[in-house]
Symmetry: C2
Subunit: 435 residues, 2 copies
């Protein structure tokens, strides 16, 4: 993308309404624009990151054996009356009446609907286990939406729902998602720690939140320092094998949010092994047994012919929220530092003198060799403005090209995260950028 023709508007001023750094940077870097309180439009750079994050989530759900579907945003109120949650949900649910005066709602989550869909097709215990997920826009009518996409009203969520014949099967499905989540966040360069959680309004029996560590995180968390050394991507994961060694490791040390914190257990840990940090919730998994299969009337004939209510779990990742979390975890005073795996483009190519033939040619050569991976700053702007915008927008690499370098056939390659600079030939630069 050529910046001279792109719709990538950066702002010099810090918007007054933004209270946290990720919100400020998302507005300044031209990733989002608010259209109503807590509702955002995604501009081209923001949408590219949103899609990259969604794609990592999708790949790891697929790898773990979940199957993607797509449920609609608008649901019938009757479904929620069946589970008893229509009244429970309160004012956070966006309630709608259609032209025929039917009560509808904008889905805040999909336990009822997915159970109802699965009920249509599940004919026997042989149709289990299944895990169905979707990545869809949800709406929660927050009383005070704030912090940008971190607490918006319309937000993109991945929610998966597992159906098993037995409790043991459901626990395996739960562990599959547990491990998939570790992998998902690690691939985005995030340090995510599973922490035992309150089961809240979804209800149920077993639940973990996945909290990423970020200095500017929303809440206080407490964990054993060993977690910082565990690597969720070590080795290929066989999701059909016994996953308890992995889940046991990741639940073997103390880790708790403020809400679930146990002072006695914490004080029992040697002081040098305690890490007190700030965290951001990016995922939440639940095992809730037969709560929805029972209320929604889902049964399948078991191996003995008797009807069984499938054991269920649900598993959420806040996909749009993750963009805020990623920036909270990775930025400096000059702007965003995108991890390679989610960056909107791999490199910003800075043409320091548009119109200079050699400079234009070298920039063009690099740009052409990186189809859909490079943002070319070919605007008529001072170098200083280009440096500032490149730092603000946060591509992992910056290829800085001016007349002097161009004459020598050299690219100055800067790593955004470290500030390291290298003087390289085009071929060497391409090798670095492509990783």
């Amino acid at each position: 993308m050529r910046l001279s023709r792109a719709f990538l508007p950066t702002l010099k001023e810090t918007p007054a309404e933004a209270q946290i750094v990720s919100h400020r940077l998302m507005l300044r870097a031209g990733l989002i624009r608010q259209t109503s309180a807590g509702i955002y439009a995604w501009l081209p750079a923001g949408l590219r990151v949103l899609r990259n994050v969604g794609q990592i989530v999708r790949e790891e759900q697929d790898r773990a054996g979940a199957q993607e579907i797509l449920m609609p945003t608008i649901q019938a109120a009757d479904l929620w009356r069946q589970s008893g949650r229509y009244d429970d949900y309160g004012k956070e649910m966006l309630r709608i009446t259609d032209r025929h005066d039917r009560d509808m709602l904008f889905g805040p989550t999909n336990e009822e609907m997915v159970t109802d869909i699965f009920k249509t097709y599940a004919k026997s215990y042989r149709d289990l286990p299944r895990n169905l997920y979707h990545i869809q826009w949800k709406f929660r009518d927050e009383v005070r939406p704030r912090f940008g996409v971190m607490r918006g009203r319309e937000f993109l969520m991945k929610d998966a729902y597992s159906f098993d014949l037995t409790k043991e099967g459901a626990h395996h499905s739960y562990r599959q998602m547990f491990v998939a989540y570790l992998r998902t966040f690690a691939r985005m360069g995030l340090k995510a720690i599973p922490m035992q959680a309150d089961t809240g309004p979804i209800g149920g029996k077993l639940s973990h939140e996945f909290i990423i560590l970020a200095e500017t995180g929303e809440s206080q968390v407490f964990l054993h320092k060993d977690f910082l050394g565990f690597d969720p991507l070590a080795g290929e994961t066989d999701f059909n094998a016994d996953l308890t060694p992995i889940t046991d490791l990741w639940t073997s040390r103390y880790a708790a949010t403020d809400e679930m914190h146990d002072e006695a257990a914490w004080n029992a840990i040697p002081e040098g092994e305690r890490v007190s940090a700030r965290g951001i919730e990016v995922g939440h998994i639940f095992y809730f047994g037969t709560k929805y299969s029972a209320t929604m009337g889902l049964t399948v004939p078991g191996p003995d012919g008797k009807p069984v209510h499938p054991e269920m779990g649900s598993y959420g990742i806040g996909v749009s929220r993750l963009l805020g979390a990623l920036i909270e975890a990775s930025h400096d005073e000059n702007g965003i530092i995108w991890p390679d795996s989610v960056a909107p483009w791999k490199v910003s190519i800075l043409n320091l003198k548009p119109g200079d033939a050699a400079t234009d040619a070298l920039c063009g050569q690099l740009y052409a060799a990186l189809p859909d991976q490079a943002l070319l700053d070919d605007r008529e702007e001072r170098p200083g403005a280009k440096f500032a915008d490149a730092d603000l927008m946060g591509m992992p690499w910056q290829a800085i090209i001016g007349p002097r370098g161009a004459a020598a056939g050299k690219v100055e390659l800067k790593r955004r995260a470290t500030g390291e600079r290298l003087e390289l030939s085009v071929e060497e630069a391409l090798t670095k950028i492509k990783g």
Copy 2:
């Protein structure tokens, strides 16, 4: 995907509520399930086609120079009051009141919102031209939703919006979308004919509908037979060049929907050159000048410093509707015939004797060589049921493997569209399937 573990439920019975063939086949092949009147969940096979169709649309929009953004589903009523359309839109608009009693709505289209967003950032005539598009769920509260995804209430639409400094520029943008649409539908194997259209509730001056020809189409259309010979994919299209030769060709002959039909002009065409056919609208493009830039207060300083209202157009493709249209245009009495470019998987591998070691091995070999491109029917079912389901689901190729072929290392490869059968080695079969 292994069918024994997949969520791909086919139905033997024809659902009573489905009046047209695409709706019947989408339900029977397990592509969609209705969740409320005119609202559908997309099951795994349907979602894969929806994504493939969306990806072709995206690639051709990008090729034509449009830039992707993503606007939210929920909009503020005030935006629509500004343009005067809030009252005009009537009962098809799904109106919503949030917890703070603000009037909101589920967007049926986005002229107002995109103009408002663009207004924030456009500082000068140098920020023009721009074309912004998004692929997002829309809602129109149809009084009688029917025909499945062809006339649903919640539907996926690609809508693009162009901003130009001059009328001539806007006409060029219009032609870019005109040509992009020709390419888009052709890549899906569809014969789409642009027909001059009434400008309807969007308002404006110049408008074309893109109508695909299908025997079971919803409306009568009239066209010159020459259109059937034009090839929109002949040659690379340079979208920065003058596109009038292409648009002139595609508007050089008579083509009209029933609504716009002119008997006198029709009768002037020699009878042997007239084609009277059935059609389905899949795209609609509009040039409407300054209608929204004026009402929404969008101006930029022109080259002479004086404020100019940008000239605008909007360009829609019914992405979810296209699945119905594709099936109407490509099916037989046994089921769907997916064009290669949009098929959920390239091949159905039919294991005629699961448990037979040689058969399992050959199926496994083929399946492993086609990651994410093959559906393996490894169910314990009679061959007849597998043949019927493979025809119903409509993958372009069927690889039929039983004990006899397996012993000889041979695959029977059937082309779904023609019924042609070939006896091939695994390598030969893979070459065919990968195209």
